[in-house]
Amino acid sequence: MNHQITHKGAQGRRPFRPLRNLNAKIAAIPMILTAMVVFVGGTIWTVVYSFTNSRLLPREQFVGLKQYERLWGTSRWQVSIENLLIFGVCSLVLSLVIGFVLAALLDQKIRFEDTFRTIFLYPFAMSFIVTGLVWQWILNPRLGVQNVVRDLGWDSFVFDPLNNADIAIYGILIAAIWQGTGFIMCLMLAGLRGIDEDIWKAARVDGIPAWKTYIFIVIPMMRPVFITTLVIIAAGIVKVYDLVVAQTSGGPGIASEVPAKYVYEKMFQSQNLAQGFAASTMMLLAVLIVLIPWAYLEFGGRRRD
């Protein structure tokens, strides 16, 4: 009789019990708070308050797009964006190329691989502040590289990027590449090692030269690694701040300003909160432009499989 009652399934469904799996839910509370309060809540708050005229303290006096108009009318912001673009494109291309080439060189079953890798990667363990200060010293015009070359006899040699408004951002780029490419190399190396050894054997049997194998077979196979690396670099570029502060403090003049620095100064130094909010919202927008297509490719595509 029991059998008849229960035969048609649905009755056995567990009643809704929020207390089930309670420990896991408790363990997830910090994550839920972080995700919802700080990440989602904080982001929305900042975006909303970017439409106000908050100065020293946030206040709800909405002024529409005025902060954004002012932002884009500020030459300092324009320089910041221009610098970010130059810095971003150059460091993207350079880190990918250098990182990949170094990884490919290290992947030739060479001796002392560990030593080389240790040397290439150690800058990544250093902070941007340390990086910036070291390179500030090396690029010091009176005592640094320029001086060394001049002492060798080439008196007219000029290499003083940090004091030349036109190229200051490239001086920062040199330091950034030095700090970050080791990491990119490691990602690429992991990608290369992930490729089936048999691919190389097949290419060798077919008589395809190594460089061709890299370009036509290996790099296309590493597409996911490249895309992920790209996103990581891009997200890092937008955040660039400490390096500039340490190396040039945005100078000479405003020649090496970057958006993150603009945001910080508006929020915490010149008591112009809403300006800072507007600028940070623009930064968010820039990241979303990179992030959304990537997330779509990465996760939208996976779901279809």
Binding site: N2, T6, H7, K8, G9, A10, G12, R13, R14
Partner: protein, 362 residues
């Protein structure tokens, strides 16, 4: 409850993840001390069903009773089961003794009791010498013994095995198979055993449940499953090499196809009776007689030999009957070779007829 003899009873069990149905309306009664094997290809839901019985997966509908108690919502530890996993799942940082006693410690069993249970299990499985070793120091066979021991010490009535021998090599598998069977004869526990290996299923089981797409296709003794499969899927799944199928039609008492006409008057039709129409004839390779023996068979036909695979004890022959593939088995001493023509014979009583559309046995 209603059936005192059944040890595990699964009633109207449903499981779905979102819109994906994994198990649909399963009803299985497993008797006290019975050895039931869940057999099927990967993805058929057999392991999922076992996990449901163990309580490791929440069901979407239906009930599970163990020893007359509704355990549908109970935690795994409260269900009175022990489980053995494919990857052994031994806790790597604990010694064998630690592995065996972990569950008992969780249940706050008295120390002396733990001691004696571990000792007894170790004796039964002959792993006394290994008690102080770590799993990494054990061979595959020893690890699986410890895994079985972990179920043993729990002193439960129902053992669940999730493909326990799949990670072992062929030789070890065969010997542990015998040991599991011996264990069952010794302990008389109820055992539910999941495998995709039909030899394990045939040799171990009191009854086999063949599963496909989350439903039981046939539940019966190994003999029933082998000799009277209920449908084409079961027939093709059991037996190696698998059954030959010839499509044709049934008219009166005769099976008629392009290549053969068989009188089916000695065939034991199922209850549904005979109906004329499109059918498939299934012939097991081992039921095909060859050469001299074929002359005694009610039906004989000449076959071209394409490929010969000597296996030692016997030889598999891949022949063709006017283009249709025809596999059969001959004695290991046979001198057949590619290109030969050979006379084969079939006994209609040992064949199976399946309806072409429903795929059910006639």
């Amino acid at each position: 409850m209603n059936q005192t003899t059944s040890s595990v009873s699964i009633r109207g069990l449903d499981l779905h993840f979102g819109s994906v149905k994994v198990l649909t309306d399963l009803d299985i009664e497993i008797g006290e001390g019975e050895f039931l094997v869940l057999l099927g290809s990967s993805g058929c839901g057999k392991s999922t069903l076992l996990n449901c019985i163990a309580g490791l997966l929440d069901v979407s509908g239906g009930e599970i009773h163990i020893k007359g108690r509704n355990v549908t919502w109970d935690e795994p530890k409260d269900r009175g089961i022990g489980m053995v996993f494919q990857s052994y799942a031994l806790y790597p940082q604990m010694t064998v003794r630690g592995n065996l006693s972990f569950g008992l410690k969780q249940a706050k069993v008295a120390k002396s009791e733990i001691e004696s249970r571990v000792k007894r299990a170790a004796e039964v499985l002959q792993i006394e010498a290994l008690l102080e070793r770590k799993p990494a120091q054990l061979s595959g066979g020893q690890r699986q013994r410890v895994a079985i021991g972990r179920a043993l010490v729990r002193d439960v009535d129902v053992f669940l095995f999730d493909e326990p021998l799949s990670n072992l090599d062929a030789k070890l598998r065969a010997s542990l198979r015998v040991e599991i069977k011996r264990l069952h004869q010794q302990l008389h526990n109820t055992m539910i055993y999941v495998t995709h290996d039909q030899i394990e299923a045939m040799t171990l089981a009191d009854r086999i449940a063949i599963m496909k797409d989350g439903a039981v296709q046939q539940l019966g003794t190994p003999h029933e499953i082998y000799s009277s499969p209920v449908n084409r899927y079961v027939a093709a799944f059991i037996g190696s090499p698998s059954m030959n199928f010839f499509s044709g039609s049934l008219s009166g008492d005769n099976f008629v196809s392009d290549t053969m006409t068989l009188s089916m008057d000695r065939y034991a039709f199922d209850g549904t009776g005979r109906q004329n129409g499109r059918v498939e004839l299934g012939v097991r390779p081992e039921h095909v007689a060859c050469d001299e023996a074929a002359r005694d068979m009610p039906f004989q036909v000449e076959v071209d030999v394409d490929v010969v695979e000597p296996m030692g004890s016997d030889t598999q022959v891949w022949g063709s009957l006017q283009g249709e593939e025809f596999r059969f088995r001959v004695d290991g001493q046979s001198t057949l070779k590619t290109g030969d023509k050979v006379l084969v014979g079939i006994d209609p009583a040992r064949t199976c007829l399946f309806d072409m559309t429903t795929e059910l046995r006639l």
